[in-house]
């Protein structure tokens, strides 16, 4: 199993405020790692730093064994990394189709790929000409997921995809992620607050609190949820 993402003793933040301190994480190909933590604990900062939106103050980030420190965000997409941010993750004023198109590399034709993701989320084909901003909250989340999947990524970075969703849709997304992992061997870094969803998808977990990893372990191991809950309530 090769290493998809390696974060080593990473320190970063905004301006002079350090949000992450000495964070070390690893995601193997075909593995789901979930990072749990409450708001303001540095989860989103972690993804933004991996993506290159924030400078690395100290430490190392490697994707498929190549360092990405100092590389601009758009380089990562070329390395089969799909990032689904938490906020403003779709182009509201663009159509569903255009949103998906932007998930694809320049040369790839949309039609066959659209067909593939529409098999997972059928509404996408029906509403392809609709503006993405007019979709419901759940549909928007599914569009984000579809846009990540359409490019056949090898590493997915997913930031709180379940936020504000109904349980039925959460269940569906969990299935999609499990399917993607096992069928295509995709590595997934899942940032979550929803512990039950996270544990139902993940192989391993890590808990982030005040910018540091305070707990990690096997997601399937009994008692993982209690351990997490303890650390979350600090």
């Amino acid at each position: 199993m090769s290493e998809a993402l390696a974060v080593e003793t990473l320190t970063s933040g905004y301006g002079e405020a350090m949000v992450l301190r000495d964070v070390t994480l690893r995601v193997m190909a075909g593995e789901v790692l979930t990072v749990l933590g409450k708001n303001g604990m540095g989860k989103t900062t972690l993804l933004k730093t991996i993506m290159g939106f924030l400078p690395v103050r100290r430490g190392q980030i490697s994707i498929f064994s190549q360092s990405t420190v100092g590389q601009p965000p758009h380089h990562l997409a070329g390395r089969a990394v799909a990032y689904s941010p938490q906020d403003q993750a779709i182009f509201q004023e663009l159509t569903v189709e255009e949103n998906l198109q932007l998930g694809l590399p320049r040369v790839t034709r949309l039609a066959p790929e659209l067909k593939r993701v529409a098999a997972i989320f059928p509404f996408l084909a029906e509403r392809r000409r609709q503006l993405a901003g007019t979709l419901s909250g759940g549909e928007q989340k599914m569009l984000i997921m579809a846009r990540a999947l359409i490019a056949r990524p090898k590493l997915m970075l997913v930031d709180e995809i379940t936020e504000g969703l109904q349980p039925s849709i959460i269940l569906r997304l969990a299935n999609v992620l499990r399917q993607e992992k096992s069928a295509n061997g995709t590595a997934i870094l899942l940032i979550e607050q929803n512990v039950s969803f996270a544990l139902s998808v993940a192989d391993r977990y890590a808990v982030l609190s005040r910018g540091e990893v305070v707990d990690q372990g096997d997601a399937h191991q009994p008692g993982a949820d209690t351990s997490i809950a303890e650390h979350l309530s600090v």
Binding site: Y14, E16, A17, K38, G137, Q193, V195, F197, A229, L232
Partner: protein, 601 residues
């Protein structure tokens, strides 16, 4: 508590610094005035004649710098104000006679007209929701209209030819040199004192973070309007002197090329340094009088190139770049003493609900962020607002503190309907709002920030820097317990994230609000800081009868301090009840985290 004054033991107090500085200004002014007096003896007639004009331009550059360098208002319109002042004299004298009453009328009338024009420009340019770019646009248009009016004025204004050879003051060139010199020194010295006063720091605060100023209850539009009017008056006076001395007025005194030239001088001299722009204006105008004759196009080209290079590479201007070469060591930080205020009247009126929200909705296009939200909260209540991200919590707080925000519904604070009022007006009903991410003034010190937060209670001085920062007990506790009291002289941008959070909270508390809106006040704070904030909040509610509405993710914290919890989900209130009711509700657990134990833990 009163001992707290002794806690902070600053190296120098602002008033001491003020005194030394004022002495320096005095020395500098005396030297400058002596130069102005002696100039005619040392200089040839040509230099004198050019310097008179350069001095006047230098004074205008000072006003441009106060507007742009300090307050962030980029005005291209000073040229028009200059032209108005000049034409006031020229037109009065050519239409009537050169008599004392007419000249006095022009001396007063010109600046008045300029002030009126500035007022109109400000009304257009400082309206709600307009971008900072817009004032630049409007001032630019003002110059264009001014020139067009002069052109269309025919014989009355002399059109493109302007007017000249009218009767004017019987003052020798040396006399004018001294008048202009004194004017420049006076404007620069007054400007220097003004920008270093407490009020001057407010200008920087407006530039840095106008929103925070407005939430401190400061009518920033009015401050900016008055500033623009003041600068217009000074500039018009310079125009009056220009016309009186040169005996010439022409439309190009007021065109936008001249307006941009002033901005160029200020940028080259160093915006926000006051002396830099004044020196740059005098120097460049003077040198170009010597050089432009021999190299007309090249000179313009050089100025243009230098300007681009300075803007791109040295945004602080040449003045500070040169000054930095000479500067040894940094100026020592200046702090102030803290002084406690006697406890304010504890009881609120109680008769009316502190917060009254009736079917408030907020839509962004087709997106419904808030739908039909209704609740009331009274004095002595600490209401926590919880719900997943995107539930509309921050939007709700926004709708409570800014009348322009909601799409429909009614909001009243302490019984006062907020209607469509701007934040600074809502704040006057006793509202205080803390933002989610620290919303502070990066360029100011801690003491200055706190003083600006107190500006509604204690007028900011236009000339002095106060020694004391007087704070109500609650703000004092936050400042002391978080260690801010020992950092009063520290520039805010050097503070840690947590200290900034604490500072913003202290600033809000310094305003002595009756209703507090807090958006995640403890994010990024240590555990001990957090429990301290909790204590302060509880005390404010219990002992002082405040009403607090709190957004918080830390549910343990919420449980500890709240008297009531409102749960927001997808823009609607799904539950409103006691701490027990909410924490035990299955519905809430499902919404909040998809699984009960995330909340219950």
């Amino acid at each position: 508590m009163p001992d707290s004054a002794a806690l902070a033991c600053p190296v120098r107090l602002p008033s001491q610094r003020g005194r030394t500085e004022r002495r320096l200004i005095l020395v500098f002014s005396v030297i400058a005035l002596a130069l102005a007096a002696a100039g005619p003896l040392l200089l040839d007639t040509y230099s004198i004649s050019i310097l008179i004009r350069s001095f006047l331009y230098g004074a205008i550059a000072v006003t441009v710098d106060i507007l742009w360098g300090f307050t962030g208002i980029l005005s291209f319109g000073q040229a028009a104000f200059f032209g108005i002042g000049a034409y006031a004299l020229g037109l009065s004298v050519t239409q009537y006679d050169f008599t004392a009453p007419i000249v006095t009328a022009a001396l007063i009338g010109g600046p008045l007209v300029a002030a009126a024009a500035a007022g109109l420009v400000a009304w257009l340019g400082f309206g709600p929701k307009v971008t900072p770019l817009y004032i630049s646009v409007i001032t630019l248009v003002l110059s264009v209209i001014f020139v067009q009016m002069i052109y269309s004025g025919g014989d009355f204004t002399g059109s493109s030819s302007g007017l000249s050879n009218f009767d004017t003051f019987d003052i020798s060139m040396e006399g004018w040199f001294r008048v202009a010199g004194v004017f420049l020194v006076a404007v620069t010295a007054a400007g220097w004192i003004f920008v270093r006063s407490d009020f001057g720091r407010l200008l920087v605060a407006i530039r840095e973070n106008e929103q925070r100023c407005r939430y401190c209850g400061i009518n920033t539009a009015r401050v900016k309007t008055l500033l623009l009017i003041g600068s217009a008056i000074i500039t018009a006076l310079a125009g009056f002197a220009y016309a009186g001395y040169n005996d010439v007025i022409a439309p190009d005194l007021g065109n936008f090329q001249f307006g941009t030239q002033l901005v160029i001088w200020v940028a080259l001299g160093g915006r926000g340094t006051l002396i830099g722009p004044a020196v740059a204006a005098v120097l460049i105008d003077f040198i170009s009088a010597w050089l432009s004759g021999s190299l007309p196009f090249i000179w313009q080209l050089i100025i243009g190139l230098v300007f681009i290079v300075v803007i791109v590479l040295l945004p602080q201007g040449l003045g500070p770049a040169v000054a930095n070469l000479f500067r040894r060591g940094r100026t020592r930080p200046v702090a102030a003493r803290l002084a406690p205020l006697p406890d304010a009247d504890a009881a609120g009126s109680g008769a009316l609900p502190a917060i009254q929200v009736e079917s408030v909705s907020r839509n962004y296009g087709s997106l419904h962020v808030l739908q039909d939200v209704t609740f009331t909260a009274g004095a002595g209540e600490l209401v926590s607002l919880v719900g997943p991200n995107g539930a509309g919590k921050t939007t709700l707080i926004r709708c409570l503190s800014d009348g322009q925000e909601r799409s429909s519904g009614r909001v009243a604070i302490e019984g006062n309907p907020i209607g469509r009022l701007a934040p600074e007006a809502c704040v006057r009903f006793g509202l205080g709002r803390k933002f989610q991410t620290p919303n502070v003034f990066d360029a100011l010190t801690v003491a200055e920030s706190l003083r600006i937060a107190r500006s509604r209670q204690e007028r900011l001085s236009f000339v002095r820097t106060a020694d004391e920062v007087r704070l109500p007990a609650a703000a004092m506790r936050v400042v002391q317990a978080t260690g801010l009291s020992s950092q009063l002289g520290t520039t805010v941008k050097h503070l840690s994230h947590g200290a900034k959070q604490a500072l913003e909270l202290a600033m809000v508390l310094a305003m002595e609000p009756r209703v507090l809106l807090l958006d995640e006040p403890t994010a990024g704070l240590t555990k001990s800081e957090r429990s301290l904030i909790g204590e302060v909040l509880v005390e404010l509610v219990r002992a002082h009868g405040l009403c607090i509405l709190l957004i918080e993710h830390d549910l343990e914290f919420v449980r500890e301090i709240s008297s009531r919890i409102i749960v927001l989900h997808q823009g609607s209130i799904v539950m409103d009840g006691t701490v027990e009711e909410v924490t035990n509700s299955e519905l809430v657990h499902t919404i909040y985290a998809g699984e009960p134990h995330a909340v219950a833990a």
